[in-house]
Symmetry: C2
Subunit: 221 residues, 2 copies
DNA sequence: AAACATTTGTCCGTATGTATA
DNA sequence: ATATACATACGGACAAATGTT
């Protein structure tokens, strides 16, 4: 029997991982609101697992800054005002800058092809007004660059920050615009030239620009 | 009854936190060797808690890259060759650079006093050849700057990396030298002048220099 | 002030899954 | 290939701690 080319092996997730992904998704998309108190037994029933994996998932989310666990008191969803982009984006920009620096010398032709294809997808999503699709593709594009670095420290620092970006997106604090398409193009071209400094500069500004734009749109804060 | 001024409230740790700190310490100082298989029941007995908090602690350590958990197979201490500094330090340098940038505009006189005192301590430790004491003070100094930023994303990204620095130190891959004293002085002076760019530059080079030194001392890798 | 109710933290027994013989 | 042995993952019950009535 011929095996379909794009067959994705069904990934069997442990109960803990299912709980983690589901709860994180619920936090990010606003199903679980900031400040909301969490009842682990309730969540366990909703997800269809016991308290243990839910508890474990909550501890991970706590480490990533999505929930706050006060021993013996309560577990709550962390408050996240949209203004948080000013806190989140500088460290993220720095790390993405490093990623670009590390990727520039080692990038291969096939990576460039893939990045260009992703940027096409990204542009299409922006132009069709599907900003959620744009967000997901944007994440894939940056993630592809990060994985070129083969650096677990970088990856594990960026991953939770990316999740927070998605959270802020659902709070309408992050808006992806036309400008990002051009920035991606610039970044890809710098990577193609193995231009370390320029790649780093563009990657950083791609993440720092939204801070200015948000500040300009919300001068009261 | 007069309450002693420097009375430190005895911090009651949960079993999980005790387990986490103890196991991390054992990994860092080499009591638990890279590659070693972990038996949670054994650890639980040694620490004096049950398997659950040990399991939870191991999951956190897994998130931080200290242990590797293969579901249903084994939990092992991550292999960490000394050459890892070349992986760890670039992202850490970038984050410490951001920390310096964010701290420079908001730093207060009392912070500068504290930082100078810490650098004195650091110098004393270096000169007396107590490199372990130097490491601990170095950590405090950088941590003080990071906390000025009031940025949880930055803090939670840097914390596990700092733990890895200590791990590499115990593997004799990180050596603190006289040069660091001067770099700290430069950094403190830049912070005092609220010179964002210079503070960032010095902070980064303080972390990037050891990579060069390690590479020079181990040309075979 | 004391007892209560709720929620979290901990324990340990069992089942599932993997790697071996 | 099947069976066996092992370690981990999960579940549910208990205990401790907090805040409240």
């Amino acid at each position: 029997m011929p095996i379909p080319a794009n067959y994705a092996a069904p990934v069997y997730l442990s109960a803990k991982d299912r709980a983690f992904q589901q709860i994180q998704e619920w936090i990010i998309d606003g199903t679980l609101q900031p400040g909301e108190k969490i009842n682990d037994m309730e969540l366990a029933k909703a997800i269809g697992v016991s308290r243990t994996p839910v508890r474990e998932a909550l501890q991970m989310l706590s480490l990533h800054g999505f929930v706050s666990m006060k021993p013996g008191v309560a577990t709550t969803i962390c408050d996240t005002e949209p203004g948080e982009i000013a806190k989140l984006f500088p460290p993220l920009a720095a790390l993405e800058g490093v990623a670009a620096e590390l990727a520039a010398p080692v990038i291969q032709a096939e990576d460039l092809v893939a990045l260009r294809a992703l940027n096409e997808e990204f542009a299409a999503a922006i132009h069709s007004g599907d900003s959620f699709a744009a967000l997901k593709v944007d994440e894939q594009l940056h993630d592809r660059i990060v994985r070129l670095c083969d650096n677990r420290y970088l990856e594990s620092a960026i991953a939770p920050m990316q999740a927070h970006v998605r959270h802020l997106f659902f709070q309408q604090a992050v808006i992806l615009t036309e400008k990002s398409i051009h920035e991606h193009t610039e970044l890809i071209e710098a990577l193609e030239r193995h231009d370390v400094d320029e790649a780093s500069r563009v990657a950083k500004s791609n993440w720092l620009r939204p801070i200015q734009e948000y500040a300009a749109a919300h001068p009261e804060q």
